[in-house]
Amino acid sequence: MLKRFVVDSSVLIFYDRKRKLEDFLLAKKKENYKIIIPKAIAQEVIDEPKEFAREIKQTAPESAKRILESVKRFNTAIEQGLIQVENVNYREYSKVIDNVRKHLSRLDAIPEYAVKKGDPELIALVIQLYGEAKEKVFVATLDKGLLKALKPFGGLVDYEVIERT
């Protein structure tokens, strides 16, 4: 049985910059993990850097090229099935997403509308995956603030944080 592993983009970008993304993904596949990310996170590693590369292309062509190479690696990993992009069911988990937004807005002392999409989507995906199979979901992030935000939902979901994978 594959172990479902929600990986934050902080981990993915970190390994990619170390030129170890493929090694990390293949190692996890070998360990029977299925790496899953929500759509908002796919946008963070593909759409946003692509746009950033376009912005800096004139002033820093080498850097733009390198960022586009990174985007390509993420696209390839998704195409090869090493990373699965999952849609969060907003209808079913809207309450969870609202709660995460509220929690993060208090944590960061910002209005709810200013909470970035990736954090609530990642937490909602963990809860959604658990709800679907009632099996432990594994999570990896380098972001302590995000883990703090996930903690209050521990009663709803059996999850395990994999430190420094």
């Binding site: 983009s9 960061d108 972001d143 883990l147």
Partner: protein, 149 residues
């Protein structure tokens, strides 16, 4: 020029790191402790260099029982002024960030990054506070070594 070549050039641009490669070429399968002892570097520095050299594929390692042993990577470089120019003209993410936000922006980044590292705000919120993408924020943290264990 391939990314690997650029990474190795950057890595060996630091003579201390270059000495580690030279040492490993002679002493295959050396431990980090052995390298530190032989070259007189503090152990945390040796580990930092080894991490960077491994990331650049200039050094390889393998587990041997409870310890990890290191080997010089199998690489050959052709260096010319043009190739060096090509290797080093790329700007770092911090160069780009400084170019956009100046010294004041760097100070703000340091403050926000410290808060985010301490878990007082999420990385996404930190990126939004700085007005940059999440990709840039993580890249900057990685570049300044704030994500290393």
């Amino acid at each position: 020029m391939s990314e690997k070549t650029v990474s190795i050039l950057r890595a060996i641009g630091n003579p201390n790191k270059a000495k580690i490669i030279a040492h490993l070429a002679k002493h295959r399968g050396e431990t980090a402790e052995g390298i530190g002892k032989h070259l007189g570097y503090p152990l945390p520095t040796v580990y930092k260099y080894l991490r960077e050299l491994e990331a650049a594929s200039a050094v390889e390692s393998e587990a041997k029982g409870n310890t990890r042993v290191y080997f010089a990577g199998d690489f050959k470089l052709e260096v010319s002024p043009e190739k060096l120019m090509e290797a080093f003209e790329e700007q770092t993410m911090m160069d780009l960030y400084k170019g956009r936000f100046g010294a004041e922006g760097v100070e703000k980044f340091n403050n926000v990054a410290a808060k985010a590292k301490a878990g007082k705000m999420t990385f996404r919120q930190a990126a939004a506070t700085l007005g940059i993408t999440y990709y840039e924020f993580i890249s900057l943290l990685e570049e300044v070594g704030a994500l290393d264990a």
